[in-house]
C-alpha cells in the first residue's frame, strides 16, 4: 500500500518530546498521583510555621508528629495495595487491636518475646487470609466481609482481654525497651514505618505481583482474560494488609507498654483516608505507597497543629475530615489543568 507511510505518520504523536525545561518539569510534577497531598502538606506546614512561631518546626515536635503518623502510615501501605486492586479492608483497626491483645496475653502467659511476637504477626496475617478467603469462598464483596470481621476481631480482643488492659508481664526486653525510645535520634516506630513503606513500595511498583494487583484494579475482566488468578491475588493482598496491621499492633504494644482493648478504634477511617489523600483512588488501577505515608503525615500534622494552636482536640476530628476532602480536591484540580 503506497499510502501506508501517511497513515502511520497520522498516528504519530503530536506532543513534543520530554525535555528538562521548567515547563516540562512542572508538567511532570503536576501529573504525580501524590500532587494533592504534597501541596496540602507543604501549605499546612507553612501555615503552622507562621502561626506557631518556631514551635512546630522544633525537631522534637516534628519527630513526635512522625511517630503519631507511624501506625496509620504502616497500615496505609497495605491499604494502598488493596485499594489499587479495587478492594478495601474495614477491619484493619480491629486486627491491630486483636494482635495487640494476643501478643500481650502470650507474654502474660509466660511465652518468650519472639514467640509472642510471632503469634501476634501470625494472628494478623491469619485475620487477613480469613478476610480474603471468606470473600472468595462465599462470593461476598470485601467491604461487606470486613464490615463483619471488624466486629468479630474486635469482639475477640475484648473476650481475650476481658475488656481491661493486659499489662502484668515483664517489660524487661527489647520490645518495650525500643518501643518508646529513639533509635539514632528517631523513634523506633518511625524507622519501622520507613522500612515497611520501602518494602511496600518495592512490591507494589516493582514486582510482577504488584503490577498484577493494579491490573486487577484497572480492569478485572481484562485481568481475567490475561490469565491473572483473581482470587489468589485477593487473598494475598488481604494477607499483606493483615500482616502490616499486625506489625502496627505489636508496635503499639511496645509504645503503650500494655495491651489495650481500646487501641485501634476508628483507625480504619484514618488508614483509608491516608491512602486516599495520598492519591490512590477508590476505583483501583494504581496506587502510591509514598502517597499513603504522606497522607498519614498530613493527618498527624493537622492534629499536632491544632494542639499547638490551643484548639480543642475534638476539632482535630473535624479538621481531618476537611483535609481529606481538600487534599483529594486539590489533586483533582491540579491534575485536570
Amino acid at each position: 500500500m503506497s499510502e501506508q507511510p501517511d497513515i502511520l505518520s497520522s498516528h504519530a504523536t503530536t506532543g513534543t518530546t520530554m525535555s528538562a525545561t521548567p515547563r516540562a518539569v512542572w508538567r511532570r510534577v503536576r501529573s504525580l498521583d501524590e500532587i494533592g497531598v504534597i501541596v496540602a502538606l507543604l501549605s499546612v506546614c507553612g501555615l503552622l510555621w507562621i502561626f506557631t512561631g518556631d514551635r512546630f518546626v522544633q525537631p522534637t515536635n516534628l519527630l513526635q508528629v512522625a511517630r503519631q503518623a507511624s501506625s496509620y502510615g504502616i497500615m496505609s501501605v497495605g491499604m494502598v495495595m488493596l485499594l489499587s486492586m479495587g478492594e478495601i479492608d474495614l477491619s484493619v483497626g480491629a486486627i491491630l487491636t486483636l494482635v495487640n491483645i494476643v501478643t500481650a496475653v502470650c507474654l502474660r502467659e509466660g511465652m518468650s518475646l519472639p514467640v509472642a511476637m510471632l503469634a501476634g504477626i501470625a494472628t494478623g496475617a491469619g485475620c487477613g487470609v480469613a478476610n480474603g478467603l471468606l470473600g472468595v469462598v462465599l462470593r461476598i464483596p470485601t467491604i461487606i466481609v470486613t464490615l463483619g470481621t471488624l466486629s468479630i476481631y474486635r469482639g475477640l480482643a475484648l473476650v481475650l482481654s476481658k475488656g481491661t488492659p493486659v499489662a502484668n508481664f515483664s517489660k524487661d526486653n527489647l520490645l518495650f525497651d525500643l518501643g518508646s525510645r529513639n533509635l539514632a535520634g528517631v523513634p523506633t516506630s518511625v524507622w519501622l514505618m520507613l522500612i515497611v513503606s520501602f518494602c511496600g513500595h518495592r512490591v507494589l511498583a516493582h514486582t510482577p505481583f504488584g503490577w498484577r494487583l493494579q491490573a486487577i484494579g484497572s480492569n478485572a475482566q481484562a485481568a481475567r482474560f490475561s490469565g491473572i488468578p483473581l482470587a489468589r491475588h485477593r487473598v494475598a493482598a488481604m494477607a499483606i494488609m493483615g500482616l502490616v496491621a499486625g506489625i502496627a499492633g505489636i508496635m503499639e504494644l511496645g509504645f503503650l507498654q500494655a495491651g489495650s482493648p481500646t487501641t485501634g478504634q476508628g483507625y480504619e477511617l484514618f488508614v483509608i483516608a491516608s491512602a486516599i489523600i495520598g492519591g490512590t483512588t477508590l476505583a483501583g488501577g494504581s496506587g502510591s505507597v509514598v502517597g499513603g505515608i504522606l497522607g498519614a503525615l498530613l493527618i498527624a500534622v493537622i492534629r499536632n497543629g491544632l494542639v499547638l494552636l490551643d484548639f480543642s482536640a475534638y476539632w482535630g476530628t473535624v479538621a481531618t475530615g476537611v483535609v481529606i476532602i481538600t487534599a483529594v480536591a486539590i489533586g483533582g484540580v491540579v491534575k485536570k489543568q
Binding site: 499510502e3 501506508q4 502511520l8 498516528h11 510482577p208 481484562a222 482474560f225 488501577g285
Partner: protein, 502 residues
Amino acid sequence: MNRAPFIRLHGVSKRFGGVAALDGVSFEIGRGEVHAVVGENGAGKSTLMKLLAGIDEPDDGEIQLDGIRARLKNPREARKRGISIVFQELSLFPHRTVTANIFANRELANPWGSVRGSQMREATLRVLSELDASLSPDAILGSLAIGERQLVEIARALEQQPQILILDEPNSALNEAESSRLFDILRRLRARGLTIIYVSHRLEEVFAIADRITVLRDGRFQGTWSIAETTIPKIIQEMIGRPLVESFPKPLPAQVPGTVVLEVSSLQSGLIGPLSFSAKSGEIVGFAGLEGSGVDDLFQTLFGLNPLISGQILVRGRKQDHTSPLEAIRHGWALVPKSRRDEGLMMDWSIARNVILLRLHTLLTWLGMIDGQAVQDATAASIRRLELGTDRFQEIVASLSGGNQQKVLLAKWLATEPEILILNDPTRGVDVGAKHEIYQLCRQLAAQGMTLLMTSSEAEEIVGLADRTLVLYKGKIVCELQQDRITKARLLHAMSGTLSAG
C-alpha cells in the same frame, strides 16, 4: 398490503461527527403491516429506529405520521404519538419484579404519592395474558430466562398501548422455540392492527414474518419490496451491493510445511457443541456465525475461560485440559478478545505497562524486582514490530486512536509468543490503514507457522482473510467453506442457517 401509508420518511439524514449514518432516506410504512428493515452492521438501521423512538432527532428531512409532520424530540414525545420500542440490548432492571419493570418510570401513583401496587399488578397480568405469557407479575426479572425477559420487554412496550411497535433485533438472544413464540405473538398483534417495524439481520426469519422489507446500505435507502416478490439472494445482493473495498493480502509462502497442530473433537461447553475441527500450522481458520451462534463461547472455552464439559482438545497430539487462561497461556495459546476496552486493555495504563504485563516474569532482576531497562527494551521491541508510530511508551492507552489501541492489544498477546492465536474481531473500530496492517500481520504470523483462529463482525473480513471458514449456527458447525469457494453471499446464507452444504 397496499394500504394508506401510516409512517412516511422524507429525506431523513443523520450525521455523527463527520460520518453520515443516514443519508436522505425516504420510504413509507403502511398501517397494520409488519415492515422489516434489514442491512449490514452500520447500515443505519439502529440509527433510524432511534429517530423514530425520539432518542435522536434527524439533522435533515422529516418524519410524517398519518400525513402530518411529527417532531419526535424525545422518547416521551414519541410515546405520546404511539410509538414504542423494544431495544436490541435488553434494557431491564434485573433486581426488580416483572411489574416494576413494566411500569419503570411510568409508575401509577395515588394523589398522596404512593404507588398503586395492585392496580399495576392487574395491568401487568392483563398485558401478560394478551401475550399468552404464563409469567408471574411478582417474579424477579433476573430469575427469568432470556426469552421470558424479552417477553417482559415487549409487554412493557405493549402496556403503553402503542400504534407502532419497533423491535430492534429482538431475537438475537433467543433460541428457536422462543423465536417462533415471538413470531406467533407478532402475528397476533398485527391481526389487532398494530404496525410493527422489525429490524433484524436474520433474513430467514424476516421472510417468515414480514409483509414488506426495506434494505438500507451505508445509510442509504436501497428499496422496499413486498416479501412475495423478492427472495433472500436478491435481498443479500441489495445489502452488499458493492464489490469488496478492502483488499486482503494474499497468503505468503509458508516458511514451514503445515502440520496438524490443533485437533478438537466433540467439544461441548454451555450451549455449544458437540464441535469437532482441526487446524494446521500456518493456517488462518475463520469462524463465522451470528451473535449467539457460539463463536465467542467456543473461543473462550478453548482459552480456558469457560469450562469444558466434554470432548478433547489436542495440540500436536497432546491432550490439553487447561481450566484457566493462565494454563492456556503456558500451553501456547493467546486470545485477543473482542472488546479491547472491557476485556483487553488496562485503559488507564501506559502502552509499556500493557504490552509487558503478560511477560513480566521474564523481565526480573535476580532480586525478583522488575528490571526497568529490560521492560523498556522489551516494549520497544514489541512495538517496533507493530509500527505503532509513536515512541512515547508512557502514553496512556485511553488517549490512543482505536487502531493504535488494537495494535497495543496485539503486541500484548504476541509478546507471549503463542503457538495458537485466537483473534476475536481483531479490527473492530479500527481505521482502514490500521486494518490493512493487521491483515498483513496475520499473514506474516501464519507464514511463520503460527495457527490463527479468527472471527469478525464483518463477514467480508472472514471471506478475505481466512484460508477456510467454519460456520456456526446455534452452537453447531453447520458447514465448512474453503477459501476458493467462499463468497460473502454464501457466507451470509450459511450464517443465517439457510445453507447447509459445504
